[in-house]
Symmetry: C2
Subunit: 145 residues, 2 copies
DNA sequence: GATAAATTTAGGTATTACTTAAAAATGTTT
DNA sequence: AAACATTTTTAAGTAATACCTAAATTTATC
């Protein structure tokens, strides 16, 4: 890591949302869409995009839109991995349905350590998909032991 | 619930810390002790106590100290319950040692829903002590089904 | 080119959580 | 009890996060 990335919870939510749109749905997330999704004023969405741009997590062109950078992708995947590993735990161990599992994961994903997530991941034999069949990204420190 | 209690993460930490001192160790937590424990300036501890007093969670007398109110006790127990149920999960399911379990629980306890905690609690047959043998408080909505 | 829609800028607010410096209260010592 | 030390509080800040409205600007559409 060259520069340390400090991500706020909201910024994390924006990154994963944008990742889903950009990579998994091949669309782009406009200011309006972001604002609607997060139930905030468009001005707020713009502001958050600008903060993410300052942190080099998105490439932002005013009036045009924003795209995740390589670093933004990595961060989004890191968070989505946490989210999906937690979903596995909640569905398999606590017998939650996928929707409820997703909700609970959303509440805590940001605060769970890599170590905790890796331990759950190992417990379930490094699953490669979450309960709703989306990809779970590999983590070198998790696999390598 | 007469008035809704909105607790910040830090306020929660103060409440549980004070609970442990006041109820489990029968001591009291002075401004200095709080400040040292949380590695902040004493002025900050005072400020937080005053905020807790405004929310009727502690009874605060300047220069004298603060004591948890009935409501403060309930909130502290609610958080300690979450903490200890999480410890159970981490020790029993993930084979964490008690210290590590405590650390991880501290990171997420505040953000876990009652429902999630109750589900874990039921899974382990409503345990009455945590891995370090401290009391786990009962929750009516958890037992009652 | 006018008008509509989307986006951004400017200039706010509120909350949380922290700081330093000085004042005030309390405790201790002689 | 006066002097000194310690603890605690007040006052007056700062910084970050996350939101807002209103007006300006840019882009898209008729």
């Amino acid at each position: 890591m060259r520069v340390k990335i400090s991500l706020t919870p909201k910024e994390g939510k924006y990154l994963t949302f944008m990742y889903r749109k950009q990579v998994e749905e091949d669309k782009s997330a406009s200011t309006t869409i972001l604002a609607k999704s997060f139930k905030v004023n468009p001005a707020t969405a713009t502001e958050t995009l600008q903060r993410l741009a300052k942190k080099k997590l998105v490439e932002y062109t005013r009036y045009y839109g924003a795209k995740l950078t390589e670093r933004g992708m990595v961060e989004a995947q890191r968070l989505l991995r946490k989210h999906r590993i937690l979903e596995i735990l909640f569905v398999k161990f606590l017998r939650y349905d996928t929707e409820k599992a997703c909700e609970e994961a959303s509440k805590i994903e940001y605060y769970c350590s890599e170590d905790l997530i890796n331990t759950i991941c190992r417990t379930y034999g490094h699953p490669d998909t979450c309960p709703c069949s989306k990809e779970i990204f590999q983590d070198s420190t998790c696999m390598g032991r």
